[in-house]
Symmetry: C2
Subunit: 450 residues, 2 copies
């Protein structure tokens, strides 16, 4: 029988990472997760699969949700099984909180890092499976705006540690915008469309923006006042003072008070001044947000879009519980961000292997000695060590270390066995030195160089 020809490529929109890039991805997850934990965010593990009615009920688009059914369905589940893949971490959080309402101590700080799925048209930078790294704080009935300040400190720590260059977190408050619009006499039904136009200010040409305002029936005066307002720049405290000087309505005033609390918190958290600004243009598209909103951009790479965003919302789980659960959260779109940073050459992936040292026997019969030495280096020095176990020419073994980016090779031959020693070769410089096995700690001095 002829072998069927299989298409072994990854399905469109489903990413893979080779070892070099996967090492970076895992390192990033470690930094993100540990920083979240350093502010007390507890991990929870929610299933990747939820009831489809809950996903749709909480705002999912049925055209983008992947439902599950068995490939060869049995009679009882010929249609679909009622389950579907999660499209974000927020619906699973809402369901978790609804399930455990009586056991949770509020404010509930949770982190979630893992894959979500969206049946979008796959294109460059748009994935159908991608990792999101989220934190949220959920309050019971109310939640201090100091939590919103902490988000800014956390974003700052993460991107500082990840060392990808200068970044700026842009902060605003939805109530300031919507309150300002209402005070201009813009009717309630136009507030959301006008917010969407503001959200596009940096994406669309000015003529198109003017057209969009006009389409909503705004007067020139209203349009000009909005443009003037959203273009205000200055130090955060200057903008706060400017806002305090405006005699706005209740919503506007509440928004300004919330922003003031956030800025007080940011100051106490000692976030460096270059990492955040107040930007009255920031609206965020989602209906979802009701107070603070964030966007983060890489300086000099603004075209990448926001690398971390989020905001404050009024109620997490309205449709699942009767309790009022306000929240604030941020999300890092890890897969998309890493893809962009690799493509733009902002980050590089250097080595594939986690090994510090490859132990190479000069001859196949010395493999047991090589194994023994490897285990000693692992146990005594706590290093990652690989042993070359297969029969190959010596040069091929060195080639293997080189290709995987293993920085050191330890070689043992007959002479080394006799002397209870091994040769340590630096694969970058080519330098090599003999060490006695009894004195194995001495190699740390050589390793320290890299």
């Amino acid at each position: 029988m002829m072998n069927k020809k299989f298409n072994v490529s990854t399905p469109s929109g489903f990413p893979e990472f080779c070892p070099k890039r996967e090492k970076v991805r895992q390192q990033w997850i470690k930094v993100i997760s540990e920083t979240y934990a350093s502010h007390g965010f507890q991990p929870i593990y929610t299933p990747l699969v939820e009831r489809d009615e809950n996903l749709v009920g909480k705002g999912g688009n049925p055209k983008e949700i992947y439902a599950l059914r068995r490939l060869q369905a049995t009679d009882e589940d010929k249609s679909h099984s009622g389950n579907a893949l999660r499209f974000d971490h927020t619906v699973p959080l809402a369901l978790y909180v609804a399930r455990h309402l009586n056991d949770i101590s509020f404010p509930f700080r949770r982190q979630a890092i893992g894959p979500v799925f969206r049946g979008e048209r796959a294109q460059k930078g748009r994935y159908r499976q991608f990792d999101q790294c989220d934190i949220d704080v959920i309050g019971s009935e109310n939640l201090s705006f100091f939590h919103d300040a902490e988000m800014v400190a956390i974003i700052t720590k993460i991107f500082t540690k990840l060392n990808i260059g200068e970044f700026v977190i842009r902060i605003n408050n939805r109530k300031i915008l919507t309150g300002f619009f209402a005070d201009l006499g813009i009717s309630a039904d136009k507030i959301k469309p006008v917010l969407d136009i503001v959200d596009d200010l940096e994406k669309l040409p000015p003529a198109k923006i003017m057209e969009n305002f006009a389409e909503q029936g705004l007067t020139n005066d209203q349009t000009n006042k909005i443009l003037e307002f959203t273009n205000v720049t200055g130090e955060p405290t200057e903008i706060l003072n400017y806002l305090k000087g405006i005699n706005g309505g209740e919503d506007f005033t509440t928004g300004v008070q919330e922003l003031e609390t956030v800025l007080t918190g940011i100051k106490a958290l000692k976030v460096p001044a270059q990492n955040f600004i107040v930007d009255l243009k920031i609206a965020r598209g989602l209906d979802y947000y009701t107070g603070t909103v964030y966007e983060t951009k890489l300086v000099g790479h603004e075209s990448l879009g926001s690398i971390c965003s989020g905001g404050r919302y009024n109620d997490l789980a309205k449709i699942f519980t009767k309790k009022n659960l306000p929240g604030v959260g941020i999300s890092i779109g890890l897969t998309r961000l890493l893809g962009q940073l690799f493509d733009a050459g902002i980050i590089q992936a250097d080595t594939a292997s986690p090994s510090h040292i490859l132990v190479v026997p000069q001859d196949e019969k010395l493999v047991p000695n090589a194994i023994e030495l490897s285990q000693q280096i692992r146990d005594i020095l706590g290093l990652s060590v690989e042993t070359y176990l297969d029969k190959k020419k010596f040069v091929k073994k060195l080639d293997y270390a080189d290709k995987l980016g293993i920085p050191f090779v330890a070689i043992i031959g007959e002479r080394e066995i006799e002397n209870n020693s091994f040769v340590l070769k630096n694969m970058t410089t080519g330098e090599q030195n003999t060490h006695s096995i009894e004195n194995i700690e001495s190699i740390m001095g050589e390793l320290i160089v890299f």
Copy 2:
């Protein structure tokens, strides 16, 4: 409009972990992943979704594979989309290797930790989504049996670090069994059924075993010789010598040689004698394995079944490439194992929060001071610190720390602010001491106790 009543429980067979247990799960993944890395196993990230024809082609059961389709399908994908969720890490590995055949340096050592999906009937301990933690070494054309020895050392390190009690890895080689059967005159078509009966030796009552042997047409003499052979016990080297004394055919002899290499490697790796035995009863159900096979049991909890198993196979990617790719691998069924260990009380989950300290202001207007102190403790001492930011009664704040298992609370009130100090309270002992903020390192002495 009346609110629809939503069922917020997790879909059947899809597990969730609360923060206490999720902390343990993540800690386990860290130990497992780092131990894999300490032997040079590179992580790769393969999609959770593959082409369904590849999954089925490589042996997946279509009744258990979850296919994806959009919940509200558009015209062009009314049927299914041709993609399905992976059911293990081996098919994705085979596809990865087939895709990257020319870039991979063999032997290819890869680790994979993450969820897989099976549409099984959900029942206690059987999940439809569960984490598997796999390593495999794939050779090009051939692969030394010393790799098989390394698996034993790795399993030993992992379960020793996880500290879940005594365990024993049972090692065998399929060729020894099948060669022995062939030498007894059992015909080729009966070898696999007889192997399956041997695999059941510990699961079924003796009468049933005898019946099964008889059903395959085995003579009493053949049956007795198999039972005698599979019941041989002794030190690994004793069993090896016993096997060497048997004048078997080619397959049998090859199997014994392979086992000898494995035992030589295990010795060089200094695996403690109590952690492994040679057990000629071990067959492993899967057709897949062709050489070494492993099973690991917890001493005193044998009913939990094998907590880590695996083996040697002839060819990873036969249907996807023309190249011969022998491999050896092991797998830890993390979700199932953790569930069993929690249920059996072998492991406990103690604290929910990652925080070492909760900083509590006595009064709402001292929140900025509490924030500032928290950030100092984080930055200077590298600890995880949470700040109580919301307006609550003081006792409720302490209650919060208690419920989350946060071991220390740092309290600041008016007097502490004046003195530039704070009170550190040990939540276990109730003891409390005042520390000056300038001298913040002094608290490490108190924290060290836990």
